[in-house]
């Protein structure tokens, strides 16, 4: 069973790889919209990759108001 820290690290790695931002520049409390420079359309792309990576279904309304990696990881963790 993955811990929240494991999940957070996986999300950071996923975002780093997909959006080509160096991993060391990303921290759990970062606003991913700002840090990755993405809009809501690209956030949906991130959601798709998260669902595929973790083999979960994450309704997008669960992400309303979520903008930092840590909270995103918490939402994922509750579906694992």
């Amino acid at each position: 069973m993955s811990t929240l820290q494991d999940t957070t690290n996986e999300v950071l790695a996923l975002a780093s790889t997909h959006f080509k931002v160096p991993r060391e520049q990303l921290t759990p409390d970062d606003d991913f919209f700002k840090k990755l420079g993405i809009n809501s359309l690209q956030a949906l792309d991130l959601l798709t990759r998260i669902e595929q990576h973790f083999h979960i279904e994450l309704p997008d309304y669960e992400l309303q108001g979520v903008s930092d990696f840590r909270t995103l990881a918490e939402r994922i963790q509750s579906r694992l």
Partner: protein, 267 residues
């Protein structure tokens, strides 16, 4: 006309396969520029159908298949009009898009939607008129209309119910959530999920397979199993027009229009 290059779309006929390619920035929003070209396509389709066995609809935009109706234009153009005129314009737009959708839905050849990225609202509804949906792993499907106080207006509700049944329809319609290609395949919406960027290639390969079958038999099979839900489609237009006049909808559209985000109704 076997080939056409318009401002928002193009089509090309090759060896019995018609390829309709949507290409309007940012993500193929359907409005006053796209609709007349779709109308021209439907006229051409009526002439090409007898020498064709497949139609593929795809997008040239990396952002996705289609983000649906051009709500910014709809709001901007309807805002200065009196309610009666606004209602009449909206109804005319819906009637025209329904004629396009119904024509593609019922054309006697096999139709394939090749989807990447978002197929939202009217884009999802365009995919739903096709006989087969082939989606790559980036695809997402959604009816976001309830977030604006509306329902889908391009025939999506009756067509999704025809294809999948009421429970899946309620989930997508009433929550407004989007689903990915894997989920869409699991519920029976998508026939094949393919690698990122491969939807059109696989659609072409599928169209090549269809050519081996007798055209008239394929058309008869389609006519037998794919009725057009005309009564429900008409009712959908009525409900959409009624809802559109409510102040809450106009306020929702105003917020949408004033946002600079690509998909402002999403989180």
């Amino acid at each position: 006309m076997k080939t056409f290059q318009g401002k928002t779309l193009s089509w090309n006929w090759t060896d019995g396969v018609i390829e309709l390619t949507l290409d309007r920035a940012p993500c193929n929003e359907i409005g006053s520029a796209t609709l007349p070209e779709l109308g021209r396509f439907v006229e051409a389709l009526a002439k090409l159908q007898n020498e064709s066995h497949a139609l593929i609809i795809s997008s040239a935009r990396k952002e996705g298949f289609c983000a649906g109706a051009d709500l910014r234009e709809l709001y901007r153009e309807s805002q200065p009009l009196a309610p009666n005129e606004r209602g009449a314009r909206l109804r005319d737009f819906l009637e025209r898009i329904h004629r396009v959708m119904n024509a593609i839905d019922s054309v006697p050849l096999t139709t394939i939607a090749a989807i990447q990225g978002i197929a939202f609202g009217g884009g999802f509804e365009l995919a739903l008129v096709c006989d087969l949906i082939i989606a790559d792993k980036t695809a997402r499907f959604c009816f976001p209309e309830l977030r604006l106080g509306l329902i889908p207006g391009f025939g999506g509700i009756p067509r999704l119910r025809r294809d999948l049944g009421n429970a899946v329809l309620r989930d997508l319609l009433l929550t407004g959530r989007s689903i990915n290609a894997t989920k869409a395949q699991a519920v029976g919406l998508v026939s094949q999920v393919v690698a990122e960027g491969d939807a059109l290639r696989i659609a072409r390969s599928t169209a090549a397979q269809l050519k081996k079958f007798d055209r008239e038999t394929a058309a008869a099979a389609k006519k037998f199993i794919k009725p057009i839900p005309f009564d429900e489609l008409r009712r959908e237009i009525e409900i959409f027009c009624e809802l559109f006049e409510r102040p809450a909808v106009r306020e929702g559209l105003r917020k949408f229009v004033e946002s600079t985000d690509a998909l402002p109704y999403l989180p």
